[in-house]
Symmetry: C2
């Protein structure tokens, strides 16, 4: 039998699991005190729901769950699909379904927290997991820009509580980029493809993006205009003049309030090249970049059409998702110590003293986490192991604690 | 698109999610202060590991995850299995794999907590879910009876902290039942089948069990002896005389210490008919029965052969699993209120006050969970909805809290 966890998944040792719980609880605490409420949805979703969810590239990464029994046999014979469910690839689709299923019971706008595992059949590589945790907050039923302000504020507050160092919030609105591209001569149909190239501005530089657009065969005039525009950073003022002024004004208000609330603890930036991968985003998109570590540690945006697929009527929604695994990797890699952790001691007993040992341990459990071990034959070697595992001390059934140093 | 969660799974509303988190944290707290350490394993396991895991009936209930890409195409052509992974059906198999994978890093005996989702393709019916949470503690590397004493004590302590009313711990050792059955003339090969029938003693009564054994075609003489034996309750003294005296003595010691530690808060009973469904149990088995509600709310036992399948050498292990969904269903159904829950208020703001509103909310967040809402047009109707949702009060941007009554 295979000892290692399946590719792209992890076993977490006690010290790692402790850090994960600590970080999740800190995030949860921030969001709950912010008046958001946790909800829970299954990790399994209907296959058709996943298929139709505008998940972009993630749809190619769904783990499919096979039909069973008669259903499987029938499908085998008829050549129909062999699967009827799949593992969720994010928490946004389940949230949208949840809202549709429960909307009569919810106070609107609904302010939801979700913390849970999601699954993607990524080609395993450093930092890409196939099972990973996301921490999301979402607001359903508000189209006001103040909702973005609040989501950004609370997510930044959660990150500040975790000691991960400086970070920058980047904000854009897809409508700005799209209208700018249409104004300079790109077809509506080609916008997604142009955006994909433009998203690589950081990586490829302006020339690289131009070369890619030429390769893709877009009209030369549009590409030249585009190259001239992107030769210098595009400010929100440029965007307001050359693109969608309403969307630009909306982003301006989000940035103004967010900067006021940041009080200099983190940066807020407009970034017209920001697209984010999910197919379902319709307006504002935003992400948080850690200054110490490359790549985004949180991402989100407005998805005003996804819930309508379930309810038949348009419902505004916007969410922000913390990439929990990245935060965990940063802090775990840096040997982060949980502040004010309870001390851990061992109580060593002889087998015939078990009832006394349990009672003595209970007396000590107000102040310490107390693990019971049968007294080992090689005591001093065992005490060395306890010290390695960062036990504070040990005692026998008499309860007299000796510190390990 | 389908609004309801897939069959046998649940969406949990905010008040339900809050109760689930509360209950899990209470259980986790008890186990951590008891010196156990949480570990985490993936929900996905290798298909072969699951197949070979002695999971009894649960092996027929595994959700299989399809191969992908080239692997799937190859399998389609060659007629090989179309799946390479599956969702775990319990937390014991992943724990055994985890131990094999990480044993050099663990302090022995390893005392582990696991809380996580497991999956079984049960035919959906009341109380049977396809995705459900288990809370397990396990000790790996100790064959001492004192380990069972500790597991039973801590699990009972966790349940006592949850206000679920009276309960009874039932204990048996599979070796007692098996040797008794062999002594009176049943074949070793037939024991599993006889045990399955005997497990129904509660449901069918002694006569019903006899009828079922006759139907199954076992030797008449053995069945008659068996019927005479089971006509009256079988005590531990009977078991010691007629069956495996060492196993009986072991159970006697577990019961004596457990009764001493129970201090009358719950009952401890020997029950020779107790079998528990998992195929991998090798010795002691135990379960906890709620006095108010039918069925077991926790179950466990010793599984001394499962880890050896990974490591090649026998490693003693024993675990106890709380059926979390049952506890949740009991308390949620009874309208349980979380003690000392933080009060929840709403702060109602005008859009152009968003930064002030957030700052005012922060001032109030020491004492309350504060949700921000844009001031609604129909204020008094909105306040009624807040009251329904058990908000304690509300305020405007000035922070002056008005109680809702």
């Amino acid at each position: 039998m295979k000892k290692t966890p399946v590719r792209g998944t992890n076993d977490f040792l006690p010290e790692e699991a402790r850090l994960r719980d600590y970080l999740q609880n800190k995030i949860l605490e921030t969001y709950i005190s912010g008046g958001y409420e946790r909800i829970m949805t299954p990790a399994i979703e209907d296959a058709e729901n996943l298929d139709k969810s505008d998940g972009g590239d993630n749809l190619n990464l769904v783990f499919n769950i096979m039909k069973r029994g008669d259903k499987l046999e029938k499908a085998m014979k008829s050549g129909a699909k062999l699967y009827d469910m799949g593992l969720r690839y994010d928490l946004t689709l389940p949230l949208s379904r949840y809202y549709a299923n429960n909307r009569e019971k919810l106070l609107m706008p609904a302010k939801c927290i979700q913390i849970g595992s999601v699954y993607r059949a990524e080609r395993p590589q450093k930092g890409r997991l196939r099972e990973f945790t996301q921490c999301d907050i979402d607001v359903i039923g508000s189209s006001s820009y103040t909702t973005e302000v609040e989501l950004i504020y609370l997510t930044a507050k959660a990150l500040l509580s975790l000691d991960i160092g400086g970070f920058t919030v980047r904000i854009n609105d897809r409508r700005i980029l799209r209208s700018m591209l249409m104004n300079i001569g790109f077809d509506e149909d080609s916008l997604d493809s142009v955006c994909v190239s433009f998203d690589k501005l950081d990586k490829l530089g302006a020339d690289g993006v131009r070369d890619e657009l030429i390769e893709k065969g877009f009209p030369g005039e549009a590409i030249e205009k585009f190259a001239r525009l992107t030769a210098n950073p595009i400010t929100l003022d440029d965007a307001a003049l050359t693109a969608d002024p309403d969307a630009a004004e909306n982003v301006r208000k989000i940035i103004a309030a967010s900067e006021e609330l940041a009080e200099g603890k983190y940066k807020i930036e407009f970034d017209i090249s920001l697209v984010r991968g999910q197919g379902y985003y319709t307006g504002t998109v935003f992400e948080i970049i850690s200054e110490k570590f490359s790549g985004a540690i949180a991402g989100g945006g407005r998805y005003d059409n996804l819930i309508g697929k379930f309810t038949g009527e348009k419902v505004s929604a916007v969410g922000f998702s913390i990439g929990f695994e990245r935060i965990f990797a940063i802090l775990n890699g840096a040997g982060y110590k949980i502040p004010n952790a309870k001390r851990h001691i061992a109580l060593l007993y002889n087998p015939d003293e078990i009832a006394d040992a349990v009672r003595q341990a209970e007396r000590l459990r107000g102040g310490y986490d107390v693990t019971l071990y049968e007294k080992p034959k090689k005591l001093s070697r065992y005490l060395d192991r306890l010290k390695e595992k960062e036990y504070y001390g040990f005692c026998f059934t008499d309860g007299d604690i000796k510190e390990l140093r």
